[in-house]
Symmetry: D2
């Protein structure tokens, strides 16, 4: 089984540039060995199930506090889980079937 | 410690009215005994920490599948956690301090 | 016609407390005369249609920059629109039908 | 100026597979000629400003209703706008600076 998860972590209060704080979260994802992709607005990853999705999300969220030694005092984290139980579709399959639907539409 | 959590659960594919499916999720929140509030677009609850927040969210998400005996095949769940470690602010304090800031602004 | 809209505005970089910045956004909502409700995690309002929803959201977002005289340099705003065209349900109807579904479930 | 926008459109009620409905939204993006990228969980695009961002989002949302001839009766659309006014960062710059921060962290 696979669920696809979108993760957005926003550290508040330490300037408008937050990349160096988010790097700790990405490192946490690497540590879990999950398949993931950094997009311009969030990070998408695959997990086996909802429990696994939240375990990874929690670790990434916590890593922002831990990696900055108490400098960051507030983090707003959003986790979106797409849990589909009729067919199995990973990250790549989702994008591929979306693009196929667009192409089919264009040929109409 | 307290974190404030916004939970949105969207069951796909079983008609535009989804209240009867979401009722299972609300019942799960009741079962946990957390403080929660149903808003027009989501449900907000309090948890002790991020781990507790995701535990409750997972149970609510799972309840939609379990309570509908396999009828619902896809659920997209979004969990937003506001984790603030400088001061402790629960659901009511957050709304109160927002309203106080609005009043202060009005008097300027 | 009515659409229900959830609005979340996050100003980055000016400390963990952002209420005084968001007050400008709430004042913008008041200026439009829309029905709205401040929840612990966002603000929910009603608009006539999607166009109206985005018009109000844009004004609220812009108010955070304008009201702080360039102090806030980055704002991440999320707008969620629930656009239902089979039946008309405002903010209060949505909460009421959710609670009725929960009660029906409890009596099962 | 540039804002980066994440768009998620969820048509409710017409089965768990929604790609053929979302194809209309992607076609609307193509029609605007904006730079966009389909990710596994949403679509990210660039706009000149918040007004332009919401104009494109509204057209994509509306396209799902229009393209399906009234079949889809409810759509929940989420638009997240990252509006940064200190430096200009488009979609590619955002991913690049995130990856650079991760590499810098790895070398520590």
């Amino acid at each position: 089984m696979v669920v696809v998860v979108e993760l957005s972590i926003i550290p508040l209060g330490e300037g408008p540039s937050v990349g160096r704080y988010l790097a700790h979260a990405v490192r946490a994802l690497e540590g879990f060995g999950v398949k993931f992709e950094v997009t311009p607005m969030s990070t998408v990853f695959e997990a086996e199930d909802v429990e696994g999705a939240f375990e990874v999300a929690k670790a990434a969220h916590e890593a922002v506090f831990l990696g900055t030694d108490g400098k960051v005092k507030r983090v707003i984290t959003t986790v979106k889980v797409d849990d589909r139980r009729d067919v199995e579709k990973g990250m790549e399959e989702k994008v591929r079937s979306m693009m196929e639907a667009v192409e089919a539409e264009e040929q109409d």
